[in-house]
Symmetry: C2
Subunit: 152 residues, 2 copies
C-alpha cells in the first residue's frame, strides 16, 4: 500500500474575474491591461498579508496562507482597493473579482497546492458576488468576531 501523501493545513484564497470572457470579448486590450494591473495589486496584497501565490491561470489566482485571519484580511483589503479603483468605471467595463476563502488540509506538490480544500475554495469563489467574498463554515468559525469588523 502506498504511503499517504503528506498534508498541511492552509487557508486557501481563490480569486477570479466575474464575466472575464464577456469583458475580453468586448475589449481585449483594455481588459488585459486592467487585469494585469489588478493581478499585481492582488499579488502584492497577498504577500503583504503573509500569503503566497501558488499559481496564476488567466484571470485566476490561487494563494495560501498559514493563518485564516491573514487570508481574510487580504481578501477584504483586495476588495476594498478594487472597489475604489472601479468607482469611476462604467458598470459594463468594471473588472471585478470574486473571492472564495476556505480552510483545510492541502497536498503540497511541485510548488502548487491540490485537493478537496482547493476545489472547495474555487466553488466558494463561484458563489461570491462580483466584488464580494464567499467563505466556508470552517473559515467563519475560525475567524469568529473578526468578521464583524472586516466584512466589506
Amino acid at each position: 500500500m502506498k504511503d499517504r501523501l503528506p498534508r498541511k493545513l492552509a487557508a486557501i484564497l481563490y480569486a477570479d474575474v466575474a464575466g472575464y470572457s464577456r469583458l475580453t470579448g468586448e475589449d481585449e486590450d483594455a481588459t488585459h491591461r486592467t487585469l494585469t494591473e489588478y493581478l499585481d495589486l492582488i499579488s502584492s496584497t497577498i504577500e503583504s498579508h503573509g500569503g503566497k501565490v501558488m499559481h496564476y491561470a488567466g484571470d485566476a489566482v490561487l494563494a495560501k496562507f498559514e493563518a485564516v485571519v491573514d487570508a481574510m484580511s487580504a481578501a477584504v483589503a483586495i476588495q476594498d482597493e478594487l472597489k475604489t479603483r472601479n468607482e469611476d468605471v462604467p458598470d459594463s467595463r468594471k473588472v471585478q473579482f470574486r473571492i472564495g476563502v476556505n480552510l483545510g488540509d492541502v497536498i503540497e506538490d511541485r510548488g502548487d497546492i491540490y485537493g478537496d480544500g482547493v476545489n472547495i475554495a474555487a466553488r466558494l469563489e463561484s458563489l461570491a458576488k462580483p466584488g464580494g467574498i464567499c467563505i466556508s463554515d470552517a473559515v467563519r468559525s475560525a475567524v469568529g468576531k473578526m468578521l464583524a469588523r472586516a466584512s466589506p
Copy 2:
C-alpha cells in the same frame, strides 16, 4: 491613446480533468497521484509535438503551438495514451481529460497567453466528452483532411 498590445497567432490547447472535484472528494491521494502522472505525460507529449506549456492550474493545462497540426497531433496522442492507461481502471475511478483546441491571436505577457482565443479554447474544452477533443471551426478548416486520419 494607448498602443495596441501585440498579438501572435497560436494554436491553443486547453485540457482539464472531467469530474475532478468528484474524483478528489472520493479519493484525494489516488486522484492526485494519477493526476500528476497524467500531467507529466501531457506535458511531455505537448513538448515532443513542438508545443509549450503556458501554465498548470490544478487539474488544468494551457499550452500553445505554432502549428495547428502539431496541436491536433498532440491532443490525439494524449487522448490515445490516456485511453490505454485507463483501460483497466473502473469507470468511476478513471481520470479522463477533456481537451479543447482553438486557433487565434493571443496576447503574450509574463510567460502566459491571454485573450479571447484562450477563453474560447477553455469553453471548447468544457464541451468535449471525457477522453475527447473539441475543436473550433478555425481549427477544422486549418487542419482539413488530416482530421479524418487523426481523430480518435
